[in-house]
């Protein structure tokens, strides 16, 4: 008798989604899908608004990575204005973006995924959360909380608000950095370094325990996309994208935001409100690719900062060519946190960082503009069209989670096939399938441009769609 296993919602994610697993008459996994179940409509209601409102309007898509939206949106607006922003404004934005990456990665690793990693996939769900981590490993738990605070506090110092700072505007930022704030950030660095070093050491010790998971957590060849500097080092805010193939060969390099709008298409599947991005020349689904920490580390040759560079060299030894298992997203995330802290320190030593010229002013000089940046979860692109008065006539956003959508679905199927046998599953098995999705750290609110929370209900249906069992978490 065929069955459908439903995990709804998937827990410890940002946003709301569910997983369904279809079993055939022999109780073997036939198919599996990760569904994103909410729709929001930001692209539609932006129509008619002045373009210079877009950064603050679009940042409301997400409370975790509003900074990414602010930056991609401001860059799209600057393409419309045809301006290049002042050096200091660009540096301050880079720092803001890195601070957000640090806090978001800390949230993903310590709050959402470390309960699985530290306490075990099969541990009691009642204590499998960040408080359980703090109880089991107080020092590490505290380090995670401190790293998140570090990022959030920098955002607050720069933008005057932790969430949705209005500081990033088309043309630059609204106010320069004061020396007092710079010194405050510098003073926070030693604790941040200590925290991430502790986390990296702890991760490397426990990663070996997860060899079975590494084998089946979205472990397959794929394409990868991310920003990269001309010197082959990692980049989060500026520059162009590179797409590489399954063996690491460059498929296309120097992808500007405008080129992105030409070569990246979005497919729609009837089971999810999140679209499926793909590289048009390769078609769908062959042109699907992964983005985010794993993609970035697979694409770059160097981190550009000394401590993170050492970690990258070690990371690259995991595989010849691109590291394929999505389990390694966790490791990549920690390396990026280290890079973020080092880079923030470097930016603060820029002799022009306290300069007061931080904003360029211009009107509508082009009727279309696109902007791209690396959000914590991967590449983010905003694309707008305006009328001659600067009112938005059309908008499209391509979100990191949409670009990972195909890989997440394939990963869920791979893990389900490996773990669900003879129609039997345990809570720990289902947690592993959820954990595949967690490795990608998807932001469902962003990807559907959705909010909401429901208790976890797991329903087992027979071939006629009748409920045969239910678990409520």
């Amino acid at each position: 008798m065929s069955q459908t296993i439903t995990i709804d919602p998937v827990t410890r994610l940002e946003g709301h989604g569910k997983i369904t697993i279809q079993l055939n008459d022999q109780g073997l996994v036939e198919d599996a899908h990760f569904h994103v179940t909410q729709v929001r409509g930001f692209e539609k209601f932006a129509e008619g608004r002045p373009f210079y409102e877009m950064p603050s309007l679009m940042a409301r898509i997400c409370g975790i990575c509003p900074v990414s939206h602010l930056i991609a949106s401001a860059k799209a607006c600057e393409a419309i204005m045809a301006v290049r922003i002042p050096h200091t404004a660009a540096q301050l934005r880079r720092m803001l973006n890195l601070a957000q990456m640090v806090q978001s990665h800390a949230l993903s690793f310590f709050y959402l995924s470390s309960p699985d990693l530290l306490l075990g996939m099969e541990s009691d769900p009642a204590t499998r959360h960040v408080f359980g981590v703090v109880a089991a490993a107080p020092e590490l738990g505290r380090a995670g909380i401190a790293l998140r605070r570090f990022g959030q506090h920098i955002i607050e110092l720069l933008g005057n608000k932790r969430i949705h700072p209005g500081w990033v505007v088309p043309g630059g930022v609204t106010e320069p950095l004061s020396s007092a704030k710079r010194d405050e950030i510098l003073a926070m660095l030693p604790e941040a370094y200590a925290g991430i070093k502790l986390a990296l050491t702890a991760y490397k010790q426990i990663a070996d325990r997860f060899k079975p998971e590494i084998e089946v957590f979205a472990n397959f060849p794929s394409n990868y996309l991310s920003l990269i500097n001309e010197d082959e080092s990692i980049q989060f805010t500026d520059g162009n994208l590179r797409l590489i193939g399954p063996h690491g060969g460059v498929i296309e390099d120097g992808i500007t935001a405008t080129r992105f709008t030409e070569v990246i298409g979005e497919a729609v599947e009837d089971y999810s409100y999140t679209k499926f991005a793909y590289y048009k020349p390769l078609g769908y689904p062959d042109g699907s690719y992964r983005v985010g920490p794993l993609a970035r580390l697979n694409i770059v040759d160097s981190m550009g900062t000394p401590l993170a560079e050492k970690e990258l060299i070690e990371f690259k030894q995991i595989a010849k060519g691109p590291v394929e298992s999505s389990f390694h997203y966790h490791h990549a995330r920690l390396i990026e946190i280290l890079y973020g802290i080092e880079k923030i320190e470097e930016i603060l030593t820029d002799s022009l960082i306290l300069d007061t010229h931080v904003r360029a002013v211009a009107g509508v000089n082009r009727l279309e503009g696109a902007g791209q940046a690396e959000a914590p979860r991967g590449t983010l692109m905003h694309h707008y069209k305006v009328d001659e008065n600067g009112l938005i006539t059309w908008a499209n956003l391509v979100i990191a989670t949409g670009q990972n959508n195909n890989a997440m679905n394939k990963g869920v199927l791979q893990a389900a096939k490996s773990y669900v046998k003879d129609g039997k599953f345990t809570e720990g098995v289902l947690n592993r399938i959820e954990a595949v999705v967690r490795t990608f750290d998807p932001c469902l609110s962003c990807s559907t441009h959705a909010f909401g929370q429901m208790p976890l209900v797991l329903t087992l249906l027979n071939a006629e769609g009748k409920q045969v069992d239910q678990l409520i978490r």
Partner: protein, 237 residues
């Protein structure tokens, strides 16, 4: 021989105060540090009593009077903050929020808006009325400024400052009742109107209805305090 000043004595919120004949209740109250909330009133502009937030109770009459236009009388007993008045003020604010699309979180005036500040001051925690969510336009045709009808509360400060202070009378009100809207010239786009680009209307606008294109984000404070000084300097000439 000195000119005799016609002095009126009255009581506001139990406090004995004196005033010159012709002064409004609002003027006298504020001179005596008694706060009456206002929205359409702005020091330096003529009053129209449009928003009704400054309504006060006068002993002897059941009718509520707008303090910005009601003048003082001898022996008047005024109450400015009774439960009845507070209830009415909250309702007026709720009606203003429900009438058009006031989305504070993404408004250019967030943090610098008089409507938002009054909502907070009057303890407005939610709006009990259904939002109308009208479909309104944005006029961004002006090279420096933008008009967003979604945020307009029809206080007419822009109309008055343009007519009374700038002397251009570009702004006016079109339509009736809930269908009213502010217009430039004969409902021409602002950018092609006879606007002198002085920007006074933007500075006096209490909400995010009129704003400066170059100042969006969290940095859009307005500075309407120039008005009384401008008037004073002109009188001195």
């Amino acid at each position: 021989m000195s000119v005799a000043v016609d002095v009126k004595t009255l009581v506001i919120d139990g406090q004995n105060v004196s005033a010159r004949a012709g002064q409004t209740i609002l003027e006298v109250a504020r001179e005596n540090k008694i706060d009456i909330p206002t929205l359409c009133h702005l020091d330096g502009l003529g009053d129209v009593g449009a928003c009704r937030l400054c309504l006060v109770e006068i002993k002897g009459t059941n009718k509520l009077l707008p303090a910005c236009v009601a003048t003082v009388e001898e022996g008047m007993e005024v109450e400015t903050a009774t439960d009845r008045l507070k209830k009415h003020r909250k309702t007026i604010l709720e009606l203003l929020f429900a009438e058009r699309n006031h989305i504070c979180s993404v408004c250019v005036a967030n943090g610098h808006c008089e409507l938002q500040a009054l909502g907070q001051q009057q303890g407005l925690t939610h709006v009990r009325l259904p939002y109308r969510n009208p479909e309104l336009t944005v006029d961004a045709s002006h090279e420096r400024f933008t008009l967003d009808h979604n945020r307009c509360i029809l206080c007419t400060r822009c109309v008055r400052v343009c007519a009374e202070i700038e002397g251009a009378h570009v702004w006016d009100v079109m339509g009736r009742g809930i269908n009213s809207s502010v217009i430039t010239d004969l409902n021409d786009p602002w950018g092609s109107s006879s606007c002198t680009r002085c920007g006074k209307c933007v500075q006096v606008c209490p909400t995010g209805a009129l704003f400066d294109k170059s100042k969006v984000g969290s940095d859009h404070p307005k500075y309407p305090d120039f008005l009384p000084w401008l008037n004073l300097m002109r009188e001195a000439q």
